[in-house]
């Protein structure tokens, strides 16, 4: 039912963890549908994602997409990272079963939320509010 690539990212995820001094954190999903993803990012001076980690409660697809998103955007600029969509994540995993496509929606959304959180913090710093 899952591609080999999904199973590989699910069984051996490389980006599990938390970043205690993260520059941005994004959480998506809810326990009712059984998936919660949290993505932590570190952003460097050139607006590149210098480090990224995730924590996910969810099915095989949820964990695999979390790990895939991290792999895809590490070292990328924020603008490049924002180009990542649900479709590109699913594609990078050699596809997901139709009933699992909502999981890839969550991964991209969690990433976008983490970037939005980072930008919000920048504004707060700049305005000193």
């Amino acid at each position: 039912m899952y591609s080999e690539k999904v199973m590989e990212h699910f069984m051996n995820p490389r980006f599990v963890g938390e970043i205690s001094d993260a520059d941005g954190v994004g959480t998506e999903g809810n326990p009712v549908c059984g998936d919660i993803m949290r993505i932590f990012i570190k952003v460097d001076a050139e607006n590149r994602i210098a480090d990224i980690k995730f924590k996910t409660f969810g099915c095989g697809a949820a964990i695999a997409t979390s790990d895939m998103v991290c792999e895809m955007v590490l070292g990328k600029t924020l603008d490049e990272a924002l180009q990542i969509t649900n479709a590109t994540v699913a594609q990078a995993l050699d596809g997901l079963p139709p009933n699992k496509l909502h999981c890839s929606n969550l991964a991209a959304d969690a990433l976008h939320k983490a970037i939005a959180d980072f930008k919000e913090r920048q504004v707060t710093l700049e305005t000193g509010a």
Binding site: M11, P31, C33, G34, D35, F57, H102
Partner: protein, 392 residues
């Protein structure tokens, strides 16, 4: 790697003795039982004998048995067939919130046809009480359907007491006994039921064959129209090998019932204790004692069921879960939710169902393999409070 099958509530392997009895009915004795010549008489005799064996097991007459294409069909025939044949007496039905979908979805279909259905809520163990049923009865209630034992959590319903409430009120009572077949007492007189559904592949018989017991005088409309087989209740040339297999499997299961239950129950309790001992924040779902001897259903907090199943599969273990992701829908198990279990805990449920071939070594293997899987998934879970351990 070991292979450990712990999903006997899903299906069981056909016993060799059963297969042996079935094999002659594919090529050697292949006649249509409706034919008058020798070929037909041979297979007719086989079906008659099977019906007598089954009737003896259920304590009923052979004419009260309808062979079907499985448990779901038996449930459909019981509920839909009865409702359609008896709608002039009333259009209200009662069932429970924790039935198998073969019952719940049939009830929902009848709602579309203009029937009204009451879905009785259950308590934290998955039980409905006779008092609750009594209160739900209406003058236009024609049928009550309550499962004998729950397929997910193994809770055994008080069928004789519930059936008695219906008997007093003159309302027909059906029980989906699919999970109870070969495990619990199926004597229809002791149970006091009007109809009872069974499926052969749950008790080491073949798939694609089941039966509906219907007490004499219970009027049913047929769902499948045609050649008038099964006394007009189920058209279609009989699945001879399947019917022979069902009867053989049921007879064997009942002969060994006490002994097997005793042994399997010992393994079950060993497994429950082991899980509680080796994994923190594990909760047993279902009734602690009023449960099937082979059923273990636990919620493992902070982890999701499908992830557990995939990891167990990698270690050669077959299990099941009430997680949304394993059901193809986005909702967690309707059974666990009806028992008041919160969504995130329902998503972390794990069902392990033992069988006659299960061994203490199988249990030991699971208890060695599962805790590291749980640790790994909890380390990934944003819900897991690190460094904290509390009881659910």
């Amino acid at each position: 790697m070991r292979s450990v099958y712990l999903d006997h509530a899903a299906t069981t392997p056909v016993r060799p003795e059963v297969l042996e009895k079935m094999l002659p009915y594919f090529s050697e004795y292949f006649g249509n039982p409706s034919s008058i010549y020798k070929w037909g008489r041979e297979t007719r005799a086989a079906i008659d004998e099977a019906r007598e064996i089954v009737a003896a097991q259920l304590g009923c007459t052979p004419a009260e048995i309808v062979f079907t294409g499985g448990g779901s069909e038996a449930d459909n025939l019981a509920i839909q067939g009865f409702a359609l044949a008896n709608q002039s007496k009333g259009k209200h039905l009662i069932t429970t919130a924790v039935e198998h979908h073969a019952v719940i979805d049939t009830a929902k279909y009848l709602e579309k046809l203009g029937f009204t259905v009451t879905y009785l809520p259950v308590d934290e163990y998955g039980l409905v009480s006779p008092a609750q049923l009594e209160q739900a009865l209406r003058p236009d209630t024609i049928l009550v359907s309550v499962m004998y034992a729950n397929n997910e959590v193994g809770t055994i319903m008080p069928i004789p007491e519930l059936a008695q409430v219906c008997q007093k009120a003159g309302v027909a009572f059906h029980t989906d006994a699919v999970q109870a077949g070969g495990v619990l007492d199926l004597n229809v007189e002791k149970l006091g039921v009007n109809m009872l559904s069974l499926s052969a592949h749950k008790f080491y018989g073949p798939k694609g064959v089941g039966l509906l017991y219907h007490r004499k005088g219970t009027r049913l409309d047929s769902l499948i129209h045609g050649g008038g087989q099964e006394r007009g209740h189920r058209a279609g040339t009989e699945n001879i090998a399947g019917i022979v297999g069902l009867a053989t499997a049921l007879e064997l299961a009942n002969q060994e019932r006490e002994e097997t239950n005793q042994r399997v129950k010992g393994l079950r309790d060993q497994l429950i204790l082991g899980l509680k001992d080796r994994i923190s924040e594990v909760k047993l779902n279902g009734h602690p004692t009023q449960r099937l001897p082979n059923n273990v259903n636990v919620s493992i907090r902070y982890v999701e069921g499908e992830s557990l199943l995939l990891n167990l599969d990698m270690q050669g273990i077959a299990a099941s879960s009430g997680s949304a992701c394993t059901s193809g829908s986005l909702a967690a198990s309707h059974v666990l939710l009806a028992m008041g279990i919160p969504h995130e805990i329902a998503h972390g449920s794990l069902r392990l169902t033992l069988g006659r071939e299960s061994t203490a070594a199988d249990i030991q293997y699971l208890l060695e393999v599962l805790p590291p899987i749980v640790d790994k998934l909890r380390a990934m879970s944003p819900l897991f409070p690190e460094g904290e351990e509390k009881d659910v």
